[in-house]
Symmetry: C2
Subunit: 291 residues, 2 copies
């Protein structure tokens, strides 16, 4: 069984990003991401650290905007809009969920779609839904595609089964796989005979967020297994949705947890930042030429 390593996928994405940055005119401003966090949730702080490191490693800049968890909603809207309209900010990552006194959905509509690095805007959701390439998909969903592509695992014509239907992974990933011409099935908690359906998969994606919910017994001989789950087991250790033990008797390839898809997500975010900066420069050039 090939172990699909996130680090190798990220290395490939780094090359793509640096190739893109190399096409920026000499003397261009380095792309800048705004990381917007309200409160001090440990998961957010830890992911933020990884994002900053990744963006720096890819040759770009991240600025962190932290607000107290009890900031009045109206004040945070004003602060967010200042960042959103700041011409020096190319992309934005907003940590969610926001505190309960705020309307989280409001920021999906407020965020400028062209700066929306994690694909939360309805404009980007509609583009992903329609199979259009010029929007931003949620980073975790796109990370799955990047793993398959980096390892040159064919997608077209394959039967892909996704377990999970969230707006962060399952639904957008279904659309991304469809765009790559896979035949896509989406399973969820109401699916009957889940094992049988999973065993039909040539590409099996576990994205239910439940530790150990799938095993080698639900895996077809020769399948590619992508584990999007990030859970904590009873010993406090990180684990995925798949039981790793014995998986090699069925799967041809699989992503480990940690070190698989999770290690690619921040690299996709950094790629989105470079793309956002590139596109905004194209737009500016076009409007200058018109002017």
């Amino acid at each position: 069984m090939i172990v699909l390593k996130g680090a190798e996928v990220s290395a490939r994405l780094k090359e793509d990003v640096q190739e893109l940055l190399g096409r920026f005119p000499v003397g261009s401003r380095v792309p800048v991401a705004a990381i917007v966090r309200v409160g001090e949730r440990p998961d957010d702080v830890s992911y933020e650290r990884n994002v900053i490191k990744r963006i720096a490693a890819f040759g770009m800049e991240a600025r962190v905007y932290v607000f107290p968890a009890d900031i009045p909603a109206a004040e945070f809207v004003r602060e967010f809009q200042t960042i959103n309209e700041d011409k020096e900010i190319d992309g934005i990552l907003l940590f969610r969920p926001l505190p309960a006194h705020m309307d989280g959905r409001l920021f999906e509509r407020l965020i400028r779609p062209e700066k929306d690095l994690d694909g939360i805007s309805p404009v980007n959701a509609a583009k992903v839904f329609a199979g259009e390439a010029d929007g931003f998909a949620p980073c975790t969903a796109e990370a799955v595609i990047e793993v398959l592509k980096a390892y040159e695992l064919p997608i077209e014509g394959k039967r892909a089964v996704i377990v999970g239907r969230s707006m962060v992974v399952g639904r957008p990933l279904a659309m991304l796989l469809l765009r790559e011409n896979a035949t896509v099935t989406v399973c969820h908690t109401k699916t009957r005979d889940l094992g049988k359906i999973c065993r039909e998969a040539e590409i099996l994606v576990a994205a239910a967020g439940r530790a150990g919910m799938l095993t080698k017994d639900e895996t077809a001989e020769g399948a590619v297994v992508i584990d999007v789950g990030i859970n904590v087991d009873q010993n406090g250790k990180l684990c995925g949705d798949m039981v790793w033990d014995g998986l090699e008797t069925a799967a041809a390839a699989a992503t480990p947890v940690p070190g698989g898809v999770g290690a690619v997500t921040t690299a996709v975010l950094a790629k989105h930042l470079a793309q956002a900066a590139w596109r905004s420069r194209q737009t500016m050039d076009a409007s200058e030429q018109e002017a």
Copy 2:
């Protein structure tokens, strides 16, 4: 085999709409739809006639706005915006594709989402994608759900296979079926072994737009078959994507063409009009109470 008749589904939708209209305050203005057509394409003119008849039969009003096929693009934008902003217009149906000298995508963004009877706005697409109930789905996709519900055919936990991935039927229908807790597979031209996958379906939806592409041989014993195709055969007669002959040896129920899903689409459009009018009155009441 039960023949699933569009007329019966529409009759049920008429009751729903009249129940909703009955809840409008006494003396309320009748909901008004604007049908916006550029040019004289015979298919559009014929569908328009059906829409007007249906809206009238449901107790509402349709106004037709026709523009010459060679209207300058900028002029049509102005005309469309006047209709879009008209407070007496509750819903809009815009015939597409528009003539080649116009940017059809522009109108998807311009149309007010709350008047968007056929779900072309990205805002409504994003809502359908996310499984939210307060947007408008494309009428044909929703008509499939209405057929299943009117005949009390269970959806939850069923394996649904959709052949076709357009933004008018396949993709939105996948999301609507997912919302009803079906396990959903989307097939298309790149799908391998289509027959095998179709034979796994408890609900089989043919939405590829190709006459006779599926037969009883691709239909599981006891399946519910929904035929969304509207094609013209070599004798000039309307036919669906399914070959009807012999289907009764496999399917438990099926929609005919004509007289199946196609006969429900305008009823869904009329339902959307009543809903649009209802929601705009709710919003107005709320803002009056605030004022």
